[in-house]
Structures are given as C-alpha cells and as structure tokens.
Symmetry: C2
Subunit: 351 residues, 2 copies
C-alpha cells in the first residue's frame, strides 16, 4: 500500500513541492497547465494531504470547534445542525468534539486548539464554573451557549455567553401552572451539582411558589438518579415512579427537561393517570419531540434557531475583531400544548 506524500507527487510531476502545495491550496501564482497536471496526478495516485502536518505549519485554520457535553441530549442536536449550516455559509469548517461525562471541557478545548489551529470555540452544555486563570489559557475567543450559570467572579470580557435565564423562565412555567389553579406541583430535577442548569431551574420553581405564597413541600422535589444520564427519559420514568409510590399527592408535574417529561408521561400512564385530566405535565427545552408526542407537551421553548445562529455569528464577529464579547439573554417561549389543563381538584385538594 503506497501512500504518496507531497514529495512523491512533486517528483512524479517533475516539479518542486511548493508548486504542488500551490496547486492544492489554490494559490494564484501558478500556471494553470501545471496546476491541472498536478491535480490529475494527485487524483491518479490517490494522494491525500496529511492534516497533522498541515496543522503543524498552519498558523490559522479557517475552522472552529464545537465542544458538546452530553451529545445524547436531544436539545443539542438541534443546535448543532444550525451551527453546522452557519459555518458552511461562512466557509468555515466545523470540528465537532464530544466531551465525555468526566472530562473537563476547558482542558479538552486547550488540546483541540493546539492540535487544530482553530479560531474559536463554542461550548454546548456542561458546567461553566471554571477558574479565570484556566479560561485565560484559551487564547482563542469562545462562546458559551445555553449556559445558565455565569460565575459572577469572572470578568465578563473574557468570553461570550448566550442563553436563556433558566431561573426566570423556569419560574414562568411554574407561574403558568399556578395560574391553572395547581397548588401541589411536583418537580423532577436533574443534576444535584451547584451552578448546574438543573439547579437553576429548581430555584425558579421555588421563586414562583414563594411569590404566590404556596408552601414549598420538599417531598415534591424529586431529584433524579445521578448515576443515570441526566435529562434521559429513563431517568424521568424511574423518578416519577418513585414519586407515585411515595403516595404524595400532586396535581401537576413539572420536569426540568422535555426528555424527563416524556419518561414521566409513561410512568403516569402506567399508573392509570391521564394527562392532562388527572395530572398536568410540563417540560422545559422545547425539543422537537415535545410537539409530536400525544398529548403534546407544554414546555418552555428555548429559541434554538436564533440562539445557534447568533452564537455562530457572534463568534465570527469576535474573530474578525468586529465585536467585543457579549452576554445575551434570550426570552424563552411558553408553549401551551395539550398536556396541561386547569386543576380539576382545585378547592378540594388544595390546602
């Protein structure tokens, strides 16, 4: 198996390596005939430039990286699709890197930046409680997308941040449930860690109840199993089952992610409870699936399209030196669907 290098191609064509390089990289100052001849032999011999060697020399690759923590999360696949399209429009290539559960996203980012000489990074998911020193090491611009928690102690002009205010929007969802006369609202929450998106949404839940003078019943706050993957349907299913077995009364169930809600809907169904007649069910995220299940899921839709587009655009602008780092908060949209309804037991079961 002969693996030709640029030298081989040069030798075969009877030209210098730089001429071959020029042919490959579309440099202007090259004789069209020479170029064609070279391109032909390249095809003939199946020459493929070695990217590692390229990256070693190149000072600047027209590329960005997207680091995703939890590629399983259906919410991200929507984002990735859009980012991909935007990159293509700008003739940037996109390196998609998957960060495993235990890994530190900033460490990975550093490695990737060194390896490929890319111009920017988008972080999707994960916690963002990194030390300022560490973030400074990343000497390309980066944007945190869908990042609920911005550590206050880190200087804002170090990076950009795009997302919704998880705490506030979560409260809005609970406000809505309360407006339907629900008082005993159970919540399914993932990620016990501080600073996590899950915890922020839980805070919003508490905020709303407090604001409406409804006592918070800790027994209605259901932490999902931390050993399973957060935001999975399985986790939603099992946690809801546990809640039902506990015998706690509730008229509405709010899951902090649509995937959890879908798992919950099955658990409710198996317990003979109808949605929304017996229990109102609400999710968060607004993933595609939420629209298609029956009954369709009331949820807090994050503007995926806009967020992904603006994230990419902002990053490109920062790379081009056209903009400073920004911290943008989007409005989520309350999508009222079939899974929620006025509390049938209001006045009877309410305390």
């Amino acid at each position: 198996m002969f693996e030709p290098t640029i030298k081989d191609i040069a030798r075969i064509c009877g030209v210098g390596v730089s001429t071959v390089s020029r042919a490959i990289n579309n440099h202007p100052d090259i004789n069209p005939e020479t170029k064609e001849k070279i391109l032909n032999t390249i095809k003939e011999y199946g020459y493929i430039p070695n990217n590692s060697a390229r990256n070693l020399k190149r000072s600047d690759a027209k590329a960005i990286a997207v680091l995703v923590k939890g590629i399983t999360n259906p919410f991200f696949t929507g984002m990735i699709k859009v980012i991909e399209q935007e990159c293509k429009r700008k003739h940037y290539s996109m390196e998609l890197t998957h960060i495993e559960a235990g890994e530190d996203e900033v460490d990975v980012a550093q490695k990737v930046v060194k390896e490929k000489r890319l111009r920017g990074i988008i972080f999707l998911g994960g916690l963002f409680s990194h030390s300022e020193a560490k973030l400074k090491k990343l000497n390309v611009p980066f944007v945190f997308s869908t990042a609920g928690s911005i550590p206050e102690n880190i200087s804002k002009n170090l990076y950009s941040n795009i997302g919704v205010d998880d705490r506030r929007e979560s409260a809005r969802m609970v406000d809505y449930l309360i407006s339907l006369k629900h008082k005993r609202i159970a919540i399914l929450v993932a990620e016990a860690q501080e600073e996590s998106i899950g915890q922020l949404r839980l805070e919003g839940y508490r905020d709303s109840l407090r604001a409406h003078g409804i006592a918070i019943d800790e027994k209605l706050i259901c932490q999902t199993d931390d050993r399973l993957s957060h935001f999975s349907m399985e986790n939603g299913y099992l946690t809801t089952k546990k809640l039902l077995e506990s015998g706690e009364k509730f008229t509405a169930l709010y899951a902090v992610a649509d995937a959890l809600a879908i798992g919950a809907s099955r658990a409710l169904h198996e317990a003979g409870l109808r949605v929304p007649q017996d229990i109102s069910l609400a999710g968060y995220d607004g993933i595609e699936m939420a629209n298609y299940i029956v009954p369709s899921l009331t949820t807090m839709r994050q503007p995926v399209e806009d967020m992904a587009k603006d994230t990419t655009k902002l990053l490109f602008d920062i790379i081009a030196g056209k903009k400073e780092h920004q911290h943008i908060t989007y409005q989520a949209e309350l999508l009222i669907k079939e899974s929620t309804d006025v509390c049938r037991e209001c006045g009877i079961d309410g305390d």
Copy 2:
C-alpha cells in the same frame, strides 16, 4: 500568552527534550526524580503537547475512529454510548467523527486515518456501495455496523459487517401486521436511493405482502420528503398527513424507523384517528423513545447493545490479528407494544 513547547520545558528543567518526552509518555528508563521534576514544571507552565506533532511522528496511536453519518439519528446515539464504554475498557481512545449529508464516508475515513494514526474504523450509518478499489485504500481494518446492504461484488475479507437483515426483519414486521388481519398496510419509507436501508426495508414489505397473496398498492407506499432529514419525526408527520389527505384507506401504518412512526402518530392523532383502535402503528429500530411514548410503539428492535459491543470487540480482535473479517447478522426482536391491535374492520374493508 506564552505557549511552552517541549523544548521550553527541557530548557527550564535543564534536561534534553527526549527526557521530557520520556516523562510524558511513561517510558520506563527514566529516573523517578527527574520525571517528577519535569512533570511538575509541566503543570506549572501549563504545557500541553501538540497532538498534530505527535500524530506526525507516531506510527501507531492506540485509538480508533467512529464515523457516523446522521448523528441526528437517535438510533446511533445508543450505539455510540456502548462503543465508547468498550473503548474505555480496552484503554483505547475513540475519535468520533460526524459525516455530513453530502460527504463520502470513505473519503473522510482516509483523511482521518492519515491525520491520526489510528488502528481501526467503525462506520455507523450511510450507504456502503463503495468501490473495492476505494475500500482497499483504507489500510486499517474497518467494520460496518448496522449496514443492511453488503454489495455482493466486493470481496468479503476486505472488511467486516455487523447488522441485522433489514429486508427479512422488515418482512417479519409486516407478517405480524398481517397476522392481525390487516390487509391495507401503508408504509412510510425514507431514502429513495438504491442500496439504502430504507429501500431494503421496503423490499421486505413487498416480500411479505407477496408471500401472503396481498396485492401491493403503490399508493400505500409513501416516500418521505428527501429534502428533509431522513428518519426525522417531522418527515414522518408530514408524509402521514399527505397520506391521510390522499384519502387512501388503510388500517395499519408501518414506518421504517421509529422516529418516523412518532411523527406519524401525531398526524393520526390530529386527524382524529386513535392508535391502535382505528389504525395500528408500527416502527422499526427499537429506540429508547419508542418505549416511553403513549401508546408505546410496536417495533422491530435491533440489539443495539450486542451489536455495538461485538462490533468493537471484533475490531479489536482484528487489529490484534486474532481474527479474520466477519459478516455477522443479528436477529432483531419483534417488540409488541400498545400501538398495534387486530384489525377492527377486517372483512369489511378488506378486498
């Protein structure tokens, strides 16, 4: 922003670069004290080895690549998870590469192999109608997983192939629907291309109908919109709507992928049709979601766990020279759930 290289570390420590290299790569012949000193300064200065340079020199990286076509497809995320675990067990690192819709998977594979010096490749999804010449260019072992179609003209010992017999299993699903007395069975099929998984499953549908002496009505064969992503819920939804608008009568609907089926279920629901009372609905793949939706989906479950595990194991064995290439066909499992039932109109509507 100072980016130290191995030389800098060497200079700072007052040693040669090779000693630093030895420290990094856990080589045996190095003084423990020297090693510790080097490792400390590495940490202090935040040195990160450049992977491109490493790949350039290294002859052999303990790594494999997984090339996924259509990372959106929820069926694959299950596979990836398992492959990742298996790699970790074997202390292999796994490079996940996403292949875009228009790209040629073998071309990408060649690039990746050159760039990283990896030992093997797993292909997930995509068509596999590649020329033998091209496949030969890949001089590392590779395994096609979940590949329904094996071009007969390519010598079998060039690669491995793991998957289910899509045509046969698809026929089994239709057999089952027929056993429920359904005669007018509509099918939702994606990917018009030859050799594609979608077409194979369609063939199975035809096989079954023929075997049972049921006339094939081309109007019940619904090709999804090729401009949307195959196997998406949206595509299933829209195609089903079109089918309903056409006024064609049918008592069962078989979607060649669960995601399509979920979209279909919503379209049926909106048309006031109940599943399974009015229409029986069946999918294919056995993704996690199928279990959680209401009604749960009758589907043909591919043994994801086993397939992924065996794929990885086989690849490692081939790399180690312990095995030859193999072509393994798994049995899919018919999961009978709530979405299918005996045809209520049998004898009335049947021709």
